[in-house]
């Protein structure tokens, strides 16, 4: 073997190894071109719990330069809010846009790989149809980022992905740079219905559900340890160490155990959530968020103490047994304890368009039972809290200098049914303007439909 050949092989090996380490399907998202933009004379809800009156903010180079008061460069576009309200871009932690898009045909129904109760190997992003008209509707509702999750038919449904709400021909072009993956898991009725009742295979019961998760975590711990051992040997200079065989299922689960992937757990009943928290302790991982959590109010204190968020609806209930105890004060009660982390989520192509209204309903219910929930507190349910639970709070979710300029200018108080998003910016670029049809995106699917119908 010539030295050139040796060098070539060595280089190839290095390249291959580097590729294996790099995140596959990387984000190609780049902020759109923007100009410095100053919004003045606004009521600003920062998403940190503050409300600033007569305030201004500056977006420059895709970031927030200041929030409150400051000097704008001469070339900045100046927008007089005239007392209108400004909030961070809204974030939906639970969306199926793209994986269950409109129109709802079999051909596009790509959210639930229900062939095995544990499919941590599937990634929701590989199912996203970027032409879902739902993205444009969510944008008109002020949503600037969302987590797109697999469905809940399986105990472990696969990886979720966080995207910026900007149309692209590929999901990579939407993928939120640096956002960790989520992993969807599900409690309760769905897995036992899909497998036990409909397919006569495990799990058939809730105890079967738990046995199913635990078996996966045991395998994942071994997989993680095998890889750790291999990496340690390599680090010690052991050239002969052989890498364990890659396993896509266990790779995702090991990512959770290492804290790189965040667990988003569909779970309705309070008692089941308590079981899951014990299981997480057993295997040494953390649950980021319980999703749906129709009974979360029954364990609000426990959730707050564990630092687990509840991603909840304002008023959905009753569609199945585990949703029978829903109350309209759920969000406000989960928000109540010190450290409580309440999130308004949609799970719906309609709900994602009105996260502010859903938060308003929950706020009103909390106020009615005597809880002190001003708008500056409630806005956190659809901004800062979901950003925290998705691992992107250091980048977005609140209006603070240095963060991504993901901003909504509302026509009025966003906690009103009559208020609409007037303008939306993502990374400082104007991506939606209610008054300007040219600044309202239309997906490929909708383009050119209903020819001859006067709009």
């Amino acid at each position: 073997m010539t030295w050139q050949m040796k060098l070539y092989l060595a280089t190839s090996c290095l390249t291959a190894s580097a590729l294996a380490l790099a995140e596959p399907f990387p984000s190609t998202y780049a902020p759109l071109a923007s100009q410095p933009t100053l919004i003045e004379n606004a009521v600003i809800l920062t998403g940190t719990g503050e409300r600033l009156e007569g305030a201004s903010l500056l977006m420059d180079g895709g970031k927030l330069s200041f929030v409150g008061a400051g000097d704008a460069p001469d070339d900045a576009l100046r927008i007089d809010a005239g007392g209108r309200w400004v909030t961070p871009g809204l974030i939906d932690i639970h969306s199926h846009l793209g994986v269950y898009p409109s129109p709802g045909t079999w051909a596009h129904s790509d959210g639930n790989e229900m062939i095995n109760p544990a499919t941590p190997n599937v990634w929701a992003e590989h199912s996203i149809w970027p032409q879902d008209p739902g993205f444009s509707r969510a944008l008109a509702g002020g949503v600037t980022a969302m987590q797109i999750l697999p469905g809940s038919g399986n105990l472990i449904g696969g990886r979720g992905v966080t995207v910026k709400n900007v149309y692209s021909t590929s999901y990579q072009g939407m993928k939120f740079p640096g956002a960790p993956h989520g992993m969807k898991m599900a409690c309760g009725e769905n897995p036992k219905r899909v497998y036990g009742r409909d397919k006569r295979t495990a799990p058939m019961t809730r105890m079967g559900n738990v046995a199913g998760y635990r078996a996966q975590w045991i395998a994942a711990q071994k997989y993680r340890d095998d890889w750790d051992e291999y990496e340690a040997k390599r680090a010690e200079g052991d050239e002969d160490a052989t890498a364990p065989t890659r396993d896509l299922k266990l790779e995702t689960l090991a990512g959770v155990l290492r804290g790189d992937i965040l667990v988003h757990m569909h779970c309705y009943r309070a008692d089941e959530m308590m079981t899951i928290l014990d299981m997480a302790d057993e295997f040494g991982y953390a649950v980021s968020t319980f999703h749906h959590g129709v009974e979360a109010y029954k364990i609000a204190q426990e959730l707050a103490e564990e630092g687990v968020c509840g991603a909840l609806w304002a008023d959905w209930w009753g569609f199945k047994m585990e949703a029978y105890d829903g109350i309209q004060e759920n969000i406000a009660l989960v928000d109540r304890p010190e450290g409580g982390c309440a999130i308004v989520h949609s799970d719906s192509s309609e709900g994602i368009q009105r996260l502010n209204q859903e938060a308003a309903k929950a706020m009103a219910r909390g106020q009615r039972m005597g809880l002190d929930i001003p708008p500056e507190r409630a806005i956190r349910w659809v901004t800062g809290n979901p950003a925290k639970a998705m691992g992107i709070l250091d980048q977005t979710g609140t209006l603070e200098a240095g963060k991504m300029a993901d901003v909504v200018l509302w026509s009025g108080n966003p906690f009103s049914v009559y208020t609409q998003a007037d303008q939306v910016w993502i990374d400082g670029a104007l991506v939606y303007d209610r008054a300007d049809p040219a600044m309202q995106p239309v997906s490929d699917f909708e383009l050119g439909q209903l020819q001859g119908v006067s709009q």
Binding site: I327, E350, Q353, M363, V417
Partner: protein
């Protein structure tokens, strides 16, 4: 002795009087009458024997048995329509044995228009209090199409929690469109073919050599509806809506469109044919190829064209969302009064029950809601609800769960907290 017997009679009367006969005086409300009288400021409403007895200024009640509510200028509206629902027909959607709003396929005769959901109505369903304390006083019990283009029949129900809740004439439900075509050989043209055949059978029994679609009861049912009965057609696509108008005229039925995502595209025709539309004003996505024209100002366009609209489509458990839906219709161009009418007077008129529900008018049954503020605003709550003259307790299974879990550190298990 005389005095004692008087007291006895009096207490007997108090004990024996059903709630609906207690006088209720609501003082100083902003009354949205939904009649030609419009909105009446600072007005009192007196309810006696279940009906609106008087409306005016400075009304008074006497005697021990009455309720006085100070509205302090807040809005008083008629009880709201809850839409087409299966309230009282469904407890938990995914618990089959608690769901009675649809007839699955049965061997003999594929089409059963005679199926009538109202015999399954349970006034004690938890959905009744959950819905009414949000200001909804009546709903159209609907028969959901399952394995037939005919869903069956339903009727209006008052959410008063009584066994006598049903009122109005029977309504027939028919499903049209792409998703329904599966029960008609895979083509929506097959739906019209079968419907025509069924209507033919209703007017004359089928010949011996043809296998019939209907039972004799089914024929009698359709014959009855062919005499100007009200038929709700679930349909979205504009071209299908035009077919409904044409066929309804031919069959002699009074058509109501339900869904109508593309109704705005044929608004003028609907207005001319006097065909009303029950719609979900939040529908703005092309959820199917039948609904490509979905848009948020559907309600506003229809109303402007003179089509009578009502809101529906929030489901049964969350029917209370209709109010929010109406508010959004206002945001997208529908006048506020028209949105309120679409939750009150319009659905009552569409189904011929305007003497019972949908307005506040002297002599009519008292169906009233006092609101904390603008009834179409999402932060507004219903404060008092009167249905058929009954002062409704503002409790439900959900408020009791709330009150059980409201205390932060109870000393005993919460099972001992029984609000």
């Amino acid at each position: 002795m005389k005095r004692i017997s008087k007291i006895l009679i009096c207490s007997f009367a108090v004990l024996a009087l059903p709630a609906a006969t207690a006088d209720i005086l609501i003082r100083g409300a902003t009354v949205h009458s939904m009649t030609s009288k419009g909105t009446l400021e600072n007005t009192d409403v007196l309810v006696r024997k279940g009906n609106i007895y008087r409306m005016g200024k400075r009304l008074s009640v006497s005697g021990p048995d009455h309720v006085v509510i100070d509205a302090e200028g807040r809005p008083l509206t008629p009880g709201l329509f809850a839409g087409m629902t299966s309230i009282g027909l469904t407890e938990v959607s995914a618990v089959d044995e608690s769901v009675d709003n649809a007839l699955e396929s049965i061997e003999i005769s594929p089409m059963r228009p005679e199926f009538d959901v109202t015999s399954a109505y349970n006034p004690h369903s938890s959905l009744v209090p959950v819905t009414r304390i949000e200001g909804h006083s009546f709903t159209l019990l609907s028969a959901s199409p399952s394995s037939s283009l005919f869903g069956g029949q339903g009727r209006m129900a008052a959410l008063d929690g009584t066994y006598d809740a049903l009122f109005g004439e029977p309504v027939l439900f028919i499903n049209i469109g792409g998703s329904a075509a599966g029960v008609a050989g895979g083509s929506r043209a097959g739906l019209w073919m079968l419907l025509q055949q069924a209507m033919d059978e209703a007017s004359r029994a089928p010949e011996d050599n043809v296998s019939p679609l209907l039972t004799s009861r089914g024929r009698a049912t359709l014959a009855r509806f062919a005499d100007a009965g009200t038929v709700v057609f679930s349909v979205h696509r504009a071209s299908d809506i035009l077919q409904v108008i044409r066929h309804a005229d031919k069959f002699g039925v009074k058509a109501v469109i339900s869904g109508g995502a593309e109704a705005w595209m044929v608004a003028e025709t609907l207005a001319k044919a006097d065909v009303p539309v029950l719609l979900n004003p939040l529908q703005n996505l092309p959820s199917s190829f039948d609904a490509l024209g979905s848009r948020l100002d559907n309600a506003a366009i229809l109303h402007a064209a003179g089509v009578k609209i009502a809101f529906s489509g929030a489901g049964s458990h969350n029917a209370r969302k209709l109010r929010q839906m109406a508010g959004n219709a206002v945001t997208h161009g529908l006048p506020h009064d028209a949105a309120l009418a679409a939750l009150t007077r319009n659905p009552a008129e569409i189904f011929g029950v305007e003497d019972h529900q949908g307005s506040i008018e002297k002599g009519r049954p008292a169906n009233l809601v006092l609101w904390s503020a603008d009834p179409l605003e999402v932060t507004t709550l219903a404060e008092r609800v009167v249905i058929n003259g009954i002062d409704i307790p503002m409790t439900s299974r959900q408020t009791e769960l709330r009150d059980r879990y409201a205390p932060e550190q109870p000393s005993m298990p919460r099972a001992y907290i029984k609000p």
